[in-house]
């Protein structure tokens, strides 16, 4: 299949996915409960682009298709973040990935042996916890448990889906809400570029104790990745609202210093809003030691709101 045909197929599928997301328009298009937070330091540092084009264990909570992209071994990931000024909000994330690698016959020097082949599909389990302080020693918390699945599909594409179980609770009067959200992702490689997208909350419903029930806002993360030089990758991405308006546009670069376990990440981003347009800057770094990778990422927020800082650790069981 040619790149043009693959591009046409990918564009058509992305359009269908986004149309499905748009069908589930919530009453507001800005998130309240269960915001789409970047769950990993590298995602923060790359401006949020990996939400549409993740890879490895971190993809469990990003575009799930990344679970079968450049993935070879099971892995675990943990992260902790402090959101904005005042230290009111903390966010933790954890994820585990189990890729499936069917054994394949291999012809070597005149003999046939069976070895593990490339990853064809993967299961993932994710968990996030958000806790926020409220006046008068009250607190608010949100918890998400996600199960994700991704696999290779025809046309050289990869698809994935994720079902999230959501629960929110505050100590103000013990009230809260619970529900679910379904995310669908798709990605492929076209003209040497990875192109992917995920429709978040393509279907969702939250039942509240003290507020009116309804879905959470849908969003569509679109991203491309292009290797430029040895160790250097450029990224571009956008977040679209369900009404096709652009919420955020990002560009990013990741540079793995040759011969070094260190990767530097940086990204400028531009926000669009009916009330306020603005830009922000993200940066971070990862360092890999054996099977472990430690990461830090930060992003400046709107003026007066402060920054997001996130630390993380990833383990790959190779």
């Amino acid at each position: 299949m040619t790149s043009k045909a693959r591009f046409a197929a990918l564009a058509a599928l992305i359009g269908v996915i986004h149309a499905l997301a748009a069908a589930g328009v919530a009453r507001a298009e800005t998130a309240g409960a269960f915001p789409g937070l970047d769950p990993w330091p590298s995602s923060i540092a790359l401006g949020g682009i990996p939400m549409g084009l993740g890879e490895g264990v971190e993809a469990v909570l990003q575009n799930p298709t990344g679970m079968v992209a450049r993935t070879e071994a099971p892995g675990l990931a943990f992260s902790h973040a402090s959101l904005f000024k005042g230290g009111f909000v903390r966010h933790q994330a954890a994820a585990g990935l189990w890729p499936r690698r069917p054994r394949q016959p291999v012809w070597t020097g005149g003999t046939v042996s069976h070895r593990e082949g490339p990853v064809t599909s993967a299961f993932g389990l994710g968990f996030t916890n958000l806790s926020g302080d409220l006046p008068g020693d009250e607190t608010y918390g949100e918890m998400t448990i996600a199960i994700a699945y991704a696999r290779h599909i025809p046309l050289g594409l990869r698809s994935g889906g994720r079902l999230r179980w959501l629960q929110a609770r505050s100590t103000v009067d013990g009230s809260g809400g619970a529900g679910y959200a379904l995310d669908v992702g798709l990605e492929g490689t076209i003209a040497g570029m990875r192109v992917g997208g995920v429709a978040r909350a393509i279907a969702s419903e939250i039942r509240w104790d003290r507020s009116s029930d309804g879905p959470i806002p849908s969003a569509f993360d679109l991203a491309i990745e292009r290797p430029i030089l040895r160790g250097l990758k450029l990224y571009g991405g956008a977040i679209l609202r369900a009404d096709w308006s652009v919420r955020r546009v990002m560009a990013a670069a990741a540079w793995t210093i040759p011969g070094s376990p260190l990767t530097l990440l940086a990204s400028p981003g531009w926000r669009q809003n009916d009330l306020e347009d603005g830009s922000d800057l993200s940066a971070g770094a990862t360092i890999q030691v054996g099977a472990f990778e430690a990461a830090y990422g930060m992003r400046s927020g709107p003026e007066g709101l402060g920054e997001i800082h996130r630390f993380g650790l990833t383990v790959a069981f190779r």
Binding site: A28, T30, A31, G32, G86, F88, L134, V172, W208
Partner: protein, 652 residues
């Protein structure tokens, strides 16, 4: 001072002064009053131990530093200093490991005080000595009893106590006693301590004490507690208090006190005429002195003359005492009343001193580089002495020419080196000083244990109690302000400087411009009431009266009040006691999207902002957790921003 010694010696005096007084003589330096180790009490200092030292200076607000390098090499880090605001500072220090250092006494802990506003005004006090003891045994009390089993005593009787201690490994064990519950002005000097035996690490001593006359004793009572002390060379002091006696004073004549009036300033020699003044409870008492221990009774009693008020004056001419050692001996004084009841007092001691020379004065000088002093000034005298016979010396200041009423005057005397004494005091108010004058003679008097007394009163100072130059005039301060830093300014004579204080805690000097005679400085205020004062000082440090005024710093109180949970059309109440010209409230979700913005402009202390619960598109916001930024602009253009969390619900 140098005018009083021969010119040839002046260079020597200067050299001695430079060696003994290491610090340059600078006016208005901090003056040490004294330092003591509060904890550990009664023993030396060991490794990894927290010690507390109280150090007293002439003023609060100094920057205090203590150098513990001589103790543990500085392994314990920096000490914590607490200012109790009355001139006493508490130093808390945890020692490091001293395993490599030998246990010893006389470890000098230099304590430096400096004026925080002028570090050049500093002084290092090296009078505090401590002991290092990380493993040397301390004395252990075994047994103490009164010899002969006697439990009831009368004035003049000998109280003899035997005490036994385990002293194996102890450095230079010395027993002593504290009988202050029996004799309020008890001095250890009056004890006689003799070693009875010292075998197998157990030493037994006998402590003898002559119970003085009734004038120095407590009231007659039973069970008066006595304390026996065991000390070593490493500052250990173990106290045993399980001993008591009964005191009986009635019946016999009561002896109050006795003192040697002549010879004055020295001990008694052969063929000297001694004059002793004693006081009894009645003039009818017949007094019989016994000088047998002084000269074997070889002299002749000239007279015992009754006087009014129970005083009896004894005159005695000593015989030939050649061959007898120089020492302090007891003169027994027996009193008889008409009923033949008697009491013998052996508390009076007299010095037999045939050949022991007196202390030698090497030099005395004032620390300050000026001769003119004013009320409130610090006066520090360094005095250097030696004793040809190596006897201990006690120093007393001679200030009667300077201070009309010496009662209650705090004079600290500390020994800085082997023979150098430091006498420090703060001159009292004008009404307690002699009239102004030049060449006021002050000095010190040294006394050794054989009654040799040597005066040096050739230090000449001037006293000036007249007000100095015109006091400063402060520009009016506002009664209230909401800023933390105010500008204090005013007028003062160009030759002076102005000291500024706030609540007597923070002092610094503002220089005066000689051409404009203006001074100006900034003063930091604490929230609430601030007492601001200041005085002028001339080049000698002489002060004018202090002018004070009050200024209240209004603490700007910022409040942001809103309901939790927040519902559509609820109000956000923003307050700022400092006043606002504009308030902007913004609602963000956790993705950083701005949902709503409310603002109010004008001039107000409080603003009410209402959020209808809708986002930028006019849609009702999702229930959940949001952050609100409040941006306040004050009239001066100062911006204050804060972030507050918000829980939003739509169940209106």
């Amino acid at each position: 001072m140098l005018r009083t010694v021969p010119p040839i010696s002046r260079v020597l005096w200067i050299l001695i002064a430079c060696v003994a007084a290491c610090e340059p003589a600078v006016a208005a330096n901090p003056v040490p009053i004294g330092s003591a180790v509060l904890m550990p009490s009664g023993r030396g200092i060991g490794s990894l131990e927290t010690i507390r030292i109280a150090t007293r200076w002439d003023s609060a607000g100094y920057r205090i530093e203590a150098d513990f390098r001589a103790l543990d090499g500085g392994a314990g880090g920096s000490p914590a200093i607490h200012d109790s605001l009355n001139g006493t500072y508490l130093i808390v220090y945890t020692t490091g490991s001293m395993a490599d250092s030998s246990d010893t006494s006389g470890v000098v802990i230099p304590i430096m005080a400096a004026n925080p506003s002028n570090p050049a005004e500093s002084f290092t006090d090296r009078s505090l000595q401590v002991c290092r003891n990380s493993g040397t045994p301390i004395p252990v009390h075994l047994e103490t009893w009164i010899r002969d089993g006697q439990s009831r005593f009368t004035p003049g009787e000998s109280l003899i106590v035997r005490t036994r201690w385990m002293t194996e490994g102890v450095q230079r064990f010395r027993p002593s006693a504290d009988f202050s519950r029996l004799v309020p002005d008890f001095r250890e000097f009056d004890l006689r301590v003799n070693l009875i035996r010292d075998t197998l690490g157990v030493s037994e001593h006998e402590i003898a004490f002559r119970i003085p006359g009734q004038g120095r004793l407590v009231e007659e009572s039973n069970g008066i507690p006595l304390a026996i002390l065991g000390r070593d060379a490493l500052c250990s002091e173990v106290r045993f208090e399980g001993l008591s006696i009964d005191l009986r004073t009635s019946g016999a004549p009561k002896f109050y006190r006795g003192s040697v009036r002549a010879p004055s300033g020295r001990g008694v020699r052969s063929f000297d005429t001694i004059e002793i003044v004693t006081q009894w409870d009645s003039t009818t008492v017949r007094v019989e002195p016994d000088f047998a221990l002084l000269d074997g009774g070889a002299g002749g009693l000239a007279s015992v003359r009754d006087s009014t008020g129970g005083f009896h004056i004894i005159r005695y001419t000593t015989g030939d005492m050649a061959g007898l050692p120089d020492e302090r001996v007891v003169v027994a004084l027996s009193g008889f009343n008409a009923l033949a009841d008697s009491v013998t007092d052996r508390s009076l001691e007299i010095c037999r001193n045939l050949a022991t020379p007196p202390p030698t004065h090497l030099g005395s000088w004032t620390r300050e580089d000026r001769k003119r002093f004013r009320p409130g000034d610090s006066l520090v005298i360094f005095s250097r002495w030696s004793h040809p016979a190596g006897l201990p010396i006690t120093l007393e200041p001679l200030l009667s020419n300077l201070i009309a009423d010496g009662a209650g005057l705090a004079v600290a005397v500390s020994q800085r080196g082997v023979d150098t004494f430091l006498v420090s005091m703060k001159l009292p108010a004008k009404d307690r000083l002699v009239p102004d004058g030049r060449d006021i003679r002050i000095g010190v008097e040294a006394l050794d244990t054989l009654c040799n007394r040597v005066r040096f009163d050739s230090l000449l100072i001037e006293l000036d109690t007249t007000p100095p130059s015109t006091p400063p005039t402060f520009d009016p301060l506002p009664p209230e302000t909401n800023v933390a830093l105010i500008r204090v300014s005013g007028t003062a004579p160009g030759s002076s400087r102005v000291a500024i204080v706030r609540e007597n805690l923070f002092r610094f000097y503002a220089p005066v411009d000689p051409s404009t005679e203006r001074f100006e400085t900034e003063l930091e205020l604490t929230p609430g009431r601030n007492q601001v004062g200041g005085w002028g000082e001339d080049e000698l440090g002489n002060k004018t009266v202090t002018a004070t005024s009050q200024i209240v710093r209004l603490v700007v109180e910022r409040t942001t009040t809103y309901p939790t949970p927040f519902r559509p059309n609820d109000e956000i109440l923003v307050g700022d006691s400092g006043g606002m010209t504009k308030v902007v409230a913004r609602i963000y979700n956790l993705e950083g999207d701005l949902l709503a913005e409310m603002e109010k402009e004008g001039a107000f202390l409080e603003a009410r902002l209402t959020w209808d619960g809708r986002d930028a598109q006019g849609d009702l916001a999702e229930p959940g957790y949001y952050l609100m930024t409040i941006r306040r602009a004050s009239a001066t253009g100062k911006i204050h921003e804060e972030v507050s969390p918000m829980l939003f619900r739509d169940d209106e």
